[in-house]
Symmetry: C2
Subunit: 123 residues, 2 copies
DNA sequence: GTAAGCACTATACTAAAGTATACCGGTATA
DNA sequence: TATACCGGTATACTTTAGTATAGTGCTTAC
């Protein structure tokens, strides 16, 4: 397998296609992933800073989701042994490079709203 | 508000940004949405055809997800009064235009796999 | 008249995701 | 000594997502 596959070729291969899209979807799925990633797009932040930036999130969920993002290689967790300890979270390369995916989603979401939700006056 | 917003401007507006990305995410989230959309990318299909194309899906879930996709404007449902009735599902403009989003996801997913899952030999 | 196919629906269940509330050890401040 | 901040964890709960299994009304095929 060559080190760089063209998109067109991948699309002919449903297995790899599905795996890759699923990876992306899994990383972003859940109620709080997007707010967290969004917050970290503005730079590294501490636990409480993230929590304060996201209105109704509980520490349990924030902790859980940050762990999730960490094991998935989206954020890094750095502990400084200050007194008391300071913990900072930061997006990895993978995390930051979600930007084009988000862009595509924004574009689609806006277009879709114009087409559908604009017509029917629901939601 | 002008009829066409530049992406850069939208990004400065967290509310609209989050709404649009959430729309996209909601449309794609769930275990069976992607397989269903994927199947329909190859053209309009009947209920049983979709079911046969997606290994372990139950008619309940297929029915539920198709309804979901329909009310979200991703697929259309057409009933032909043949004997017995024929029902066909087809992607709408919005449904078909998910392509660039998927492309972005494939690209990110593949890159991410190379970076992370390639390193640690897990999953 | 029995069975099978189509396009589903109904009921009941399990599992996963998310919430609420309280608490931990350490430190520093009043 | 009492309170509060930091970065969380523990326990119990509710809600949502998904599964299992059976059945519906209609029709044609045997």
């Amino acid at each position: 397998m060559s080190k760089l596959l063209k998109l067109e070729e991948v699309k002919k291969c449903p297995a790899e296609f599905v795996l890759a899209v699923n990876d992306t979807l899994n990383v972003l799925s859940g109620k709080w992933k997007l707010p967290i990633i969004g917050t970290l797009l503005f730079g590294r932040k501490r636990f409480k800073e993230i929590q304060n930036g996201i209105p109704r999130i509980t520490p349990r969920m924030l902790s859980k989701e940050l762990k999730d993002l960490e094991v998935n290689g989206i954020v890094t967790r750095t502990v400084y042994n200050t007194i008391p300890v300071t913990v900072e979270y930061e997006l990895t390369t993978s995390g930051s490079s979600l930007d084009p995916v988000m862009d595509a989603m924004i574009t689609w979401g806006l277009e879709h709203r114009k087409r559908v939700i604009g017509n029917t006056n629901s939601l």
